[in-house]
């Protein structure tokens, strides 16, 4: 099974969420997801300032054979998008946990509690594999 850091929360839809000290949440896709997608060729990021809802699509990653929606794990405002991915989407393949996609200022941090921990996500990923 692929790499699953224990300090992260996970969504069933294969995003990871990192609660940061300043109360914001950093979001990316899991190592399992990048392996399933294959070589990424493009990442469409959300606009900074946009309001997102937990579980709603707000970004798209494209590999050579698939385009997949990325769902925000929490509701809130997009405060930053990782613009470096525009020119180097392959960074997600190289290190899915370093190559974050966007940061959210959540309206309600307790939404994180509804997400899975590493063991819970591992079960989801194994079922999907």
């Amino acid at each position: 099974m692929s790499n699953l850091p224990s300090n992260l929360k996970y969504a069933k839809s294969h995003e990871w969420a990192l609660a940061e000290n300043d109360g914001t949440v950093r979001v990316g896709i899991t190592d399992f997801a990048q392996q399933q997608l294959g070589d990424l060729v493009y990442v469409e990021l959300p606009a900074v300032g946009a309001q997102v809802k937990a579980g709603s699509a707000c970004a798209v990653v494209e590999s050579v054979k698939a385009a997949s929606d990325i769902y925000s794990p929490v509701s809130g405002e997009i405060i930053e998008a990782n613009a470096a991915l525009k020119d180097a989407p392959e960074a997600v393949n190289q290190d899915a946990y370093a190559a974050w996609l966007f940061r959210v200022r959540p309206a309600d941090l307790s939404e994180l509690d509804a997400l899975l921990d590493a063991a819970g996500y591992q079960a989801v990923a194994e079922a999907a594999d």
Binding site: V41, Y42, V60, E62, S63, V64, K65, A66, A67
Partner: protein
């Protein structure tokens, strides 16, 4: 493709399998008035009788010497173009894009893209779209995806009216505002100052036709720069033959146009009752992800041998469905193949000579027709291979008179541009001789 006939019982069986009671019910969704009616042919004719009947009907067509353009142009097509394009490998293949089986077609489309991008002075080309009008609509949608700040697009009235109608139909339901820039009846062109009236940031894209519908050359450099100052992307709508002679869109102004589109028919597709034609669409590398349609790339296989394959497919409808860059799936591979052969045979210099001859002939026709009493040029200023004339009588009547004398005299402008009076748009390509031009002038004199 295999010839697969089916009997009445085959049809019944197929209908039963899908649960339709009749063929009519199967086509229920198509409004009655759009369905093809029965052919006007007697029942029970043999093949020989049918051919004789149809040849007789065809013989009633009277060939006219063509002086009409307005988006469709009669050029000489070297015999080799369709001799090669009609080879079975090109002619009969259906969606021939599997790289393991279609290297020839993929290589031709790769060459097509290379030639079109080079002709337009831009970085990337797709492998063709339906026609010039749908290419313009796709260019507009693409520009707004690349530049999503606003949904307003400026489109001058000097763009081919058919293209404007098609664009409005294809994009009208997508919350896009197509704002028409008025025609300056004095010049027939778009004044760059017109653009100064817009707030920077309030326009997503500007369409610049070159030459415009009246054959006139727009001030593409100034218009491009004024559009970019507004933060708008520039869509150059061009005639490919003219581009061999004029500045390619990629070099307009300080930064060049962002997108170029148009109809590729003048590059080897015959005039045949309105089609098939093909649209082309080129852009800068930075917008490639927003470019709709197929893209063929060159690569090397595991053994290091060169090969060709479709690339960036994740933008396409079979993967992205509703989020695809376009949901018009069809391109015009055969037309693009013919155009590739046509361009390869002519070369840049040959294409340039065709363009020069077109312009020279149009200048001759304009001078000669304006010497006919009562006929005058509607606009002054540089033109390419088309020009608008004003007649002393309605153009429709005059065209009928010319047709009786064996001449297809142009396109009546009064329907789309009543403000120009009895306007007639005439065009001359390299196909017309001095004698043809003189015959037109005589016929016009007689008709008037």
């Amino acid at each position: 493709m295999a010839f697969t006939p089916h009997t009445e019982s085959d049809v019944r069986e197929m209908l039963a399998a899908i649960g339709a009671a009749s063929l009519n019910e199967l086509f229920d969704e198509i409004p009655e008035n759009l369905r093809a009616g029965p052919l006007q042919l007697a029942d029970g004719l043999s093949e020989m009788e049918t051919v004789r009947h149809l040849r007789g009907r065809a013989a009633q067509n009277r060939p006219l010497t063509c002086f009409a353009g307005a988006g469709a142009y009669e050029h000489y097509i070297p015999a080799a173009v369709w001799e090669i394009a009609q080879r079975g490998e090109f002619y009969s293949a259906y969606t021939p894009y599997q790289p393991e089986a279609s290297q020839g077609t993929l290589q031709v489309l790769y060459e097509f893209q290379t030639m079109m991008a080079s002709l337009m002075g831009l970085d990337v080309s797709n492998a063709s779209l339906y026609d010039g009008a749908s290419a313009l609509a796709e260019a507009i949608l693409m520009a707004l995806r690349a530049n999503p700040k606003t949904r307003r697009v400026l489109i001058p009235k000097t763009v081919n009216p058919i293209y404007r109608r098609v664009a409005a139909t294809l994009i009208g339901r997508q919350g896009i505002e197509l704002q028409e820039l008025p025609l300056d009846p004095a010049t027939g062109r778009m004044a760059p100052e017109t653009l100064d009236g817009f707030e920077p940031g309030s326009v997503g894209a500007v369409v610049i036709p070159q030459p415009n519908y009246f054959g006139l050359l727009e001030d593409a450099d100034a218009l491009t720069d004024a559009s970019h100052r507004l933060g708008a992307l520039v869509i150059g709508l061009v005639t490919p033959v003219a581009t061999a002679l004029l500045q390619p869109p990629g070099t307009w102004g300080e930064q060049g146009a962002d997108i170029a589109c148009g109809d590729g028919q003048p590059l080897g597709a015959p005039l045949s009752g309105g089609g098939p034609y093909f649209g082309f669409l080129c852009c800068r590398q930075q917008w490639v992800h927003h470019l709709p349609g197929r893209l063929v790339g060159a690569t090397t296989d595991l053994e290091g041998k060169p090969g060709f394959t479709l690339t960036l497919q994740a933008r396409e409808q079979h993967i992205r469905r509703g989020k695809a860059t376009s949901n018009i799936c069809t391109n015009q591979g055969l037309m693009a193949t013919a155009a590739t052969i046509h361009m390869a045979l002519l070369g840049p210099d040959g294409l340039r000579r065709v363009a020069l001859q077109c312009h020279e002939n149009t200048r001759k026709l304009r001078d000669r027709l304006c010497a006919v009493p009562g006929v005058e040029a509607v606009f002054q200023g540089p033109f390419f291979h088309e020009t608008a004339l004003r007649l002393p009588r309605p153009a429709g009547e005059v065209l009928a008179g010319l047709a009786e004398r064996g001449i297809l005299g142009g396109c009546d402008l009064s329907g789309d541009y009543p403000e120009l009076g009895n306007g007639l748009l005439v065009c001359v390509t390299e196909m017309r001789s001095d004698e043809d031009i003189e015959a037109y002038a005589q016929a016009l004199t007689d008709t008037l």
